[in-house]
């Protein structure tokens, strides 16, 4: 079980976390439909956080809110302490990269060009330098190409650099999307169902790839339906049901939560009133029913309960981590942070 061993060092690593992503009270309404309601989520550096939930739960909408594709109706998203701008290209420039649920490569560009497009925010050459072709332009192009080839080697596609993206097999297209996202030197990468449609071997490979990305110092937030994959991979898992966060915690907490099971099996949520969300903090290991103790206090239906339950959770959880770890964290962790600042 290599996974368990990797997970072991995973738990040791977040001993020094810095909050990379901090979403507070994100709500997204489309007309009368509330797709995402008051969701809080934090991702700390060196962490792999999973986001699961049944189809239509609002996971991708939440992702789009994080990446500026949608502007949340309420709430705010901070990346390393700064509120994210509402344009997706600015979000990418700030340091959040993403992949898409349905692969969105630039089909008629080569594999290498796809990755080079990902370098866009980290290079500056405009039209004039392209027309005049000074030494600076050539240097920058060569540097971009070198970095792109490194990334292709990282995902193992270096030999197919000149193929058209659309001619790649499915699994490699997924990988290429990840490489393209990595090319923008992100501090956080959002993966939207990275293993959808993959066979078990490919899923394993994707798992290794995500661990490798984490080891590069990049925090990962991943949506996935493959539960084995998610629970092997993630340090923390958040469950989104009908636009609301049901629970957040480590794999065991989530796996054993009755409401999660109920949500996946289709039992009405109102059915199990007694449990409650505020569960969480990554610490508790083998306490399946821990949240139940807290549950008694609020008496409304599950939904509103959660929101009330969560607000205390957040502040309590954050300062504890932040205060102790942030200073030590900055230095070892991400090579990208320097570039982020000048972007």
């Amino acid at each position: 079980m290599t996974t368990t061993t990797t997970k072991a060092d995973a738990t040791t690593e977040p001993a020094t976390p810095e909050t990379v992503l901090d979403a507070r009270g994100v709500t997204m309404r489309f007309g009368g439909l509330t797709a995402v309601r008051d969701v809080d989520l934090t991702v700390r550096s060196g962490e792999i956080v999973g986001l699961i939930g049944p189809n239509g739960a609002g996971k991708t909408t939440f992702f789009n809110c994080l990446t500026g594709l949608y502007v949340p109706t309420e709430g705010e998203v901070r990346y390393k302490g700064q509120v994210l701008p509402p344009k997706s290209f600015k979000v990418t420039a700030a340091g959040i990269a993403r992949t898409f649920q349905n692969i969105r490569l630039f089909n008629n560009m080569t594999v290498l060009e796809n990755v080079l497009v990902g370098r866009h925010t980290r290079t500056k050459e405009g039209l004039w330098s392209a027309l005049l072709r000074g030494p600076g332009f050539k240097k920058a192009e060569a540097a971009s190409e070198k970095r792109a080839m490194e990334l292709l080697e990282f995902i193992g596609l270096q030999d197919k650099a000149q193929h058209l993206a659309k001619n790649l097999p499915y699994g490699e297209q997924r990988k290429l999307e990840i490489a393209r996202a990595l090319a923008s030197d992100p501090g956080l990468i959002l993966l939207d169902e990275p293993t959808a449609g993959m066979n078990p071997q490919e899923t394993r490979a994707a798992e290794e790839l995500i661990f490798a990305i984490r080891d590069m110092g990049i925090a990962v937030l991943v949506i996935e339906h493959d539960m084995r994959f998610i629970f092997n991979l993630c340090d923390r898992v958040a469950v989104l049901v009908q636009g609301q966060k049901l629970i957040e915690g480590d794999s065991q907490t989530v796996q054993s939560d009755e409401r999660v099971i109920a949500a996946y099996l289709g039992e009405p949520i109102e059915g199990d009133a007694p449990t409650d969300a505020p569960a969480d903090t990554p610490a508790p290991a083998g306490t399946p029913k821990a949240p139940a103790t807290e549950a008694g206090a609020p008496e409304e239906a599950a939904a509103p309960k959660e929101t009330t339950g969560k607000s205390p959770e957040k502040p309590s959880e954050k300062p504890s981590e932040k205060s102790s770890e942030k200073p030590s964290e900055d230095t070892p962790h991400d090579p990208a942070s320097g570039k982020e600042n000048d972007a």
Partner: protein, 610 residues
């Protein structure tokens, strides 16, 4: 009942006729001989008289040397003969057909047949009956027919087709068989194989080959532009069309592309030299005029290709930017009708023209580029018309007096560039270079600038951003590309390049009027033709719009006898081309892969673009 009895035979036929041609009953060796003989006879018959009177243009009455349409048949016949020789594997001709000879033979024979029979028919109709044919005319008709029959009898690999379902009703069966027939018919003209790789050659030899290819291209182009009467031009279109297809099928074209791709800069330089030689092949200024107009048209089309081909922004009002440049140059040219009495030197005028277009590009682009797809097309179409109507109305009565309204700005003086008067004739190395030839050289220079801009911007960070936006705007935004900004740059750059061409256009045409800048009209530089040139030639390529523009200018210009039906015929031709070659005449390698997914195409793309 018949259907049932037929059905068992259906699967049997493909097995027995594995290697027959479209005409099944002729044995292969006879067919091949027939083709060779027909080709040779065609060549010989071009030296005979085809008709007795010189009333048919081109003087086909002479024994001993070919004239007019005979020359075209001769070329097609030569191609057929050479390809046929090559199919026999004769030493010294095998290099002609690196991708297999049979497909090339069929098309070359078709070229000879179509041109010859067109000529014979034209003679008979124009002079009142086949009586007017000399024996030579009959000989060429028979010879080309023989060659064609032989070629069609050549074997080809029949594609696997499904036999008709006997339980279908008659009409469905008919449809099914028709589609099967069509499939094998198409396969008959299909490529016979992938071309052999070119053996490694010393660089000077490769350069010589490129020079040869360019010389042939210049020759064909010069011949086409110089065709003096309608029959000759139609014959030229037939011969050139099928001939081009034949050379393409033979695999020679791919090998040439391979070479030119290897020496790209050299090829471009060579192409410019070849183009610069064009005025020297002409004895008077008549065809240099066409040359200038083609260059203006092609330059603007290339500018549009940045906007449409690279960035994927469908701009239907592009000609307005040409107009802005032309008007700006005309207003500062010192023309007597210009309300501004200034006369700037040419270098300043050209900057003014380009800058004015740039400003207009930004002004029009900033509000419209927030739209995508069809909406952008509609809005740009509107802005194109707004430009024309605004120019029409700023005549001093309906609005401020700026552009002189529908009369336009007339008698724009010729350019004078550091003492070089563009209006006068000059003699260079014994060749007289007239007014239009002077402008031809100037336009060539401007086109070189545009080509440079196109290539360099396309192959850079910003060019990749354009293509990314064309491919998937949402994903491009998520990759950190500021979509609006990048699109605006493409739009403004395209506009500035069109303005650059417009400054010269104003001087070439003496007059600028609003009616020159329509959305669609019979005279080429208009938005619809520009877009057609880009799409027809090949979107996103460099040479595509140039070829497309040349064709789109020449065809309406040479087919004026068609009168009102000209646009109709033209539209029909466009529809057909889009049906059968959607990637354009000179395809972007990317697009070729895109449109012909099922065919075997190389999976890799050595170097983007063309």
């Amino acid at each position: 009942m018949t259907t049932i009895s037929e059905n068992p035979t259906a699967p049997a036929t493909p097995a027995t006729t594995e290697a027959t041609g479209l005409i099944g009953f002729i044995p292969v060796h006879i067919a091949r001989a027939l083709t060779l003989g027909g080709g040779a006879l065609t060549v010989a018959s071009c030296f005979l008289a085809w008709t007795w009177t010189a009333r048919f243009p081109g003087d086909l009455t002479v024994y001993g040397y070919p004239g007019g349409l005979q020359l075209q048949v001769l070329v097609a016949g030569l191609l057929t003969t050479l390809f046929a020789l090559s199919s026999y594997g004769i030493k010294g001709t095998r290099w002609l057909t690196p991708a297999g000879a049979d497909g090339a033979i069929k098309l070359a024979a078709l070229a000879a047949f179509a041109t010859a029979w067109y000529t014979v028919a034209a003679i008979s109709i124009q002079l009142g009956g086949p009586v007017n044919l000399e024996p030579g005319g009959a000989v060429v008709a028979v010879a080309t027919l023989l060659a064609l029959v032989g070629a069609l009898a050549l074997p080809f690999e029949r594609p696997a087709t499904h036999p008709a379902d006997p339980e279908d009703n008659g009409w469905d069966q008919f449809k099914h068989r028709a589609s099967n027939g069509l499939t094998s018919f198409k396969a008959a003209f299909g490529t016979t194989g992938t071309p052999r790789r070119l053996p490694p050659l010393p660089t000077p030899v490769e350069i010589l080959i490129i020079a040869g290819v360019l010389a042939v291209a210049l020759g064909v182009f010069t011949y086409g532009i110089g065709t003096e009467y309608d029959e000759l031009f139609i014959g030229f279109l037939i011969t050139a069309g099928f001939g081009f297809a034949a050379v393409n099928k033979s695999g020679l074209l791919q090998q040439a592309t391979q070479l030119t791709g290897k020496h790209q800069n050299l090829t471009i330089a060579g192409a410019f030299i070849a183009a610069a030689l064009f005025p020297f092949t002409q004895t008077d200024d008549q065809y240099a005029t066409l040359g200038v107009y083609i260059l203006i048209f092609a330059t603007v089309a290339l500018g549009l290709n940045i906007v449409v081909g690279l960035a994927g922004l469908l701009d239907l009002g592009y000609v307005a930017f040409l107009g802005v440049g032309a008007y700006a140059a005309a207003l500062v040219s010192g023309a007597p009708t210009s309300p501004f009495g200034v006369h700037l030197p040419f270098w300043a005028a050209i900057l003014v023209g380009a800058a004015a277009s740039l400003v207009f590009g930004v002004l029009i682009g900033a509000p419209t580029l927030r739209l995508r797809g069809d909406y952008l097309a509609i809005v740009t179409l509107g802005f194109g018309e707004i430009f024309r109507i605004a120019v029409m109305n700023t005549d001093g009565t309906s609005g401020p007096d700026i552009t002189n309204g529908s009369n336009g700005i007339a008698s724009i003086p010729n350019l004078d560039f550091f003492g070089f008067d563009f209006g006068a004739e000059h003699t260079i190395a014994g060749f007289t270079i007239g007014r239009f030839a002077n402008y031809f050289f100037l336009m060539l220079l401007i086109m070189a600038v545009v080509v440079l801009v196109f290539r360099r911007s396309g192959d850079s960070r910003i060019g990749r951003a354009w293509v990314a936006i064309r491919e998937d705007e949402t994903a491009a935004l998520a990759m950190g590309i500021n979509g609006f900004r990048v699109k605006l740059i493409a739009f403004a750059l395209g506009a500035a390049l069109a303005g650059l061409a417009g400054t010269v256009q104003a001087h070439v045409t003496y007059t600028v009027t609003p009616e020159q800048y329509l959305f669609a009209g019979p005279i080429p530089p208009n938005s619809a033709f520009l877009l057609a040139a880009v799409v027809l030639g090949g979107m996103g390529t460099m040479s595509g719009p140039l070829v497309g523009a040349a064709l789109l200018f020449l065809i309406p210009n040479k087919l004026q006898f068609m009168g009102e039906y000209q646009l109709f015929a033209f539209g029909l031709a466009l529809v057909l081309i889009m049906r059968f070659r959607p990637e354009g005449i000179i395809p972007n390698r990317r697009n070729q892969l895109e449109f012909h997914e099922k065919d075997e195409t190389p999976a890799t793309l050595a170097k983007a673009g063309a």
